[in-house]
């Protein structure tokens, strides 16, 4: 349906008429909020707003990243903006060699090459503080990280561990210089989405 060479250099380019009906995104996913925030931080608020308005006019919205990923795999739409591991969860069901879609990493420090972290926390109000702490400690231990890396195609946090999924090496991703603490609680991302009429 589309070849890698036809893809634009930046995630910002998808919000244009040339991609009308060809670009899938999931506006209610947490990752999408981080993406909005990253664009706003790197290119400015106006650019982020213009991007969202472009997506509203020309993009195709899905309920979830998995839904968008599957639409691409089924050939309903050429491109989707998803986290890398959604491709592997479909591949696990259908078999990697039978996959009709492929991952494309934008790289070169574009906002679209944003790295997102999965976080764990514990409620202050929890009555099982100790057990909670123990579990958090397990999650970052070597054993816990191994278990997580085997269950999902996300990059393990702990140095020295390599995902069994054959992911593109972490060092080659060339992400933008935006950290999770820059993104914060993404309150402004939501405000932007509302201004653009997406929420």
């Amino acid at each position: 349906m589309i070849t890698e060479s036809e893809l634009p250099a930046s995630v910002l380019d998808f919000a244009a008429e040339a991609w009308k009906g060809k670009f899938a995104y999931a506006p209610t996913s947490g990752a999408f909020q981080a993406q909005i925030a990253a664009i706003s931080i790197m290119k400015g608020r106006d650019a982020a707003l213009a991007w969202l308005k472009g997506l509203k006019d020309f993009g195709v919205s899905y309920n979830s990243d998995s839904g968008a990923m599957l639409a691409v795999e089924k050939g309903e739409i050429p491109v989707a903006l998803v986290n890398n591991y959604y491709w592997y969860s479909v591949a696990r069901e259908t078999g990697e060699d039978k996959m009709k879609s492929a991952l494309h990493f934008i790289g070169h420090q574009d906002p679209g090459a944003l790295i997102m972290v999965a976080a764990a926390g514990m409620l202050k109000s929890s009555k099982k503080q100790e057990a909670g702490q123990q579990f958090l400690a397990f999650m970052v231990s070597e054993e816990g990280q191994k278990a997580i890396a085997e269950a999902t195609a996300e990059y393990p946090l702990r140095p020295g561990l390599v995902s069994p999924y054959g992911l593109k090496p972490f060092g080659e991703l060339d992400p933008p210089p935006v950290t999770p603490s820059d993104i914060g609680d993404a309150e402004d991302a939501l405000a932007l989405a509302r201004e653009a009429g997406l929420a």
């Binding site: 506006p27 209610t28 899905y62 309920n63 998995s66 599957l70 509302r194 929420a199």
Partner: protein
């Protein structure tokens, strides 16, 4: 009215005021300027347009299919009429979100506004067809004879003499479809149509406490409540009267002539689309899924989860409904009447708004209840009281009040007399209401999805979870069980409607 009854009848009335309180409180926080700005946004207008297009589209299409279908089944020499009467109502056994899942797994093209109107019409038309068919069967053919003998043609007679007699049934059915479509969430979300319900849910997912969600809920309620009120009024007023002496004769069947078999074929196509395609698709995905062999253990978790919410839920709803029915059938009076009818109006409240209100109010005012099953049961009570009331009304009215009065005369307390005399008499009716409610609660998706404590999986939420992730094969066993569990509620609805409109 005894005080205990008054108190028991006041609880559900209090509960159904909660969504109104939520919308008032949360919108109030936004301030007048905030409210105007929010309501005037292009987004609100877009959602309003989409909501009205889908709701009116489904209502009009269902009414057309309902009237034409009912006429063919009741008034024409269609082959196999008795058989059609049952078969055309069976699509009710497929919950709308299951039908949506089935169609969207066939082709992504159904995930659109026309697709949604098509799919929801197929699952809603029996709500019109059934009452209209019942009304047609009981309508007096005398009016038609007069019309024909005065020289009117068959079409003019239909519009002049038949339609006015079925109009109350048609209007009540159409308003029921309108209310259902306005508050539909699961199906529309799966079909990616943006309406108030899907937008409210999206706002809630991104940010718990959201003024936009509250204001959109207010607009949605303003659309739903009048429709539900109108439906209730029509249902109460529906009296098909006939004039003249003697007993009514059956209407003669119109000869369809050369189109007899094409009409049968068209009805067959309708049933294939409404029932055959969804169930066939389920069977297909079941076979795909069993070869992939996943989700075996999850099935039992979901069945357990469904029962753990639906069984106590049904008991609680029936418990709250019983005083309302007793109050209105035994004691009458204005207060009892209001308490009896209010739930029917509130039935028009979308499950989504009910759930959102409970989240907001529990976090603010009753924090220990948040994330407990109590909230789920409160939501069920608010949404399903009318169903329990109509299931209980028959048995309660059949139990003679005089026996209870006699027990009072012999010295029993009001409650004692009720417990020892009336309760045993209505026990079978209560049992039937419990079974019906339990199965209907299993089909409930929206409130369960939003309120069930983290980690709870039910058949409905499992279908939802797998389908939104596009895992069609994994969703199939859950959906198939839901369809199977729906058979009894459909039977009940069919019987009740036929009784209501038949002379």
């Amino acid at each position: 009215m005894p005080p205990w009854l008054l108190f028991a009848a006041a609880i559900p009335v209090f509960l159904i005021c909660l969504p109104l309180a939520y919308v008032a409180l949360r919108s109030g926080q936004a301030g007048p300027a905030g409210i105007i700005a929010e309501l005037g946004r292009q987004r609100t207008l877009d959602l309003l347009l989409n909501t009205l297009v889908i709701a009116l589209g489904v209502t009009v299409a269902s009414s057309l299919i309902g009237v034409v279908g009912a006429w063919c089944i009741e008034r024409s020499d269609l082959p196999g009429r008795k058989w059609w009467r049952i078969v055309v109502t069976l699509p009710l056994a497929v919950p709308a979100f299951v039908a949506s899942y089935a169609w969207s797994s066939i082709d992504g093209a159904f995930e659109s506004m026309p697709g949604a109107i098509f799919i929801l019409t197929l699952s809603a038309y029996p709500l019109v067809l059934l009452p209209v068919a019942a009304a047609l069967r009981s309508a007096d053919p005398g009016f038609e004879d007069v019309s024909r003998s005065l020289g009117r043609g068959p079409w003019a007679t239909f519009f002049g003499a038949v339609l006015p007699q079925i109009r109350p049934a048609l209007a009540a059915g159409a308003l029921l479809v309108l209310t259902h479509t306005l508050s539909e969430f699961g199906a529309l979300a799966l079909l990616r149509v943006q309406t108030f319900t899907t937008s409210i849910f999206a706002s809630y997912e991104l940010q718990f406490d959201n003024a936009t969600a509250a204001l959109q809920s207010a607009v949605l309620m303003a659309l739903c409540l009048p429709a539900a009120y109108g439906e209730m009024r029509l249902r109460l007023k529906t009296q098909v009267a006939r004039v003249g002496k003697g007993s009514r004769r059956h209407a003669p069947l119109a000869a369809l002539g050369p189109i007899r078999w094409p009409v049968a074929l068209a009805l067959g196509a309708l049933v294939v689309l409404a029932l055959g395609v969804p169930t066939g698709t389920l069977v297909y995905w079941l076979r795909v899924g069993s070869s992939a062999g996943h989700g075996r253990g999850e099935i039992w978790d979901a069945i357990g989860g469904s029962f753990s919410l639906a069984l106590p839920g049904a008991a609680i709803v029936v418990l709250f409904a019983l005083p309302l029915v007793l109050a209105s059938s035994r004691h009458g009076g204005r207060l009892a009447q209001i308490a009896d009818r209010l739930p029917y109006i509130v039935h028009g409240l979308p499950g989504l708004v009910v759930a959102l209100a409970l989240v907001f109010l529990s976090i603010r005012f009753a924090h220990p209840l948040y994330q407990t099953v109590v909230l789920v049961f409160v939501a069920y009570t608010m949404m399903f009281l009318p169903l329990a009331q109509s299931a209980l009304r028959g048995p309660v009215e059949l139990a003679p009040a005089r026996l209870e009065e006699m027990a009072r005369g012999l010295g029993r307390s009001p409650f004692g007399a009720f417990a020892s005399i009336t309760l045993p008499a209505i026990a079978p009716g209560i049992g039937a209401a419990l079974a019906l409610l339990a199965l209907e609660l299993m089909r409930e998706l929206t409130a369960t999805l939003m309120l069930a404590p983290s980690g709870t999986v039910t058949l409905a939420t499992a279908v939802w979870g797998h389908t939104t992730d596009g895992e069609y094969a994994a969703a199939a066993p859950f959906a198939a069980l839901l369809v199977a569990a729906s058979a009894l509620p459909v039977y009940f609805f069919t019987r009740r409607t036929l009784e209501l409109y038949e002379l």
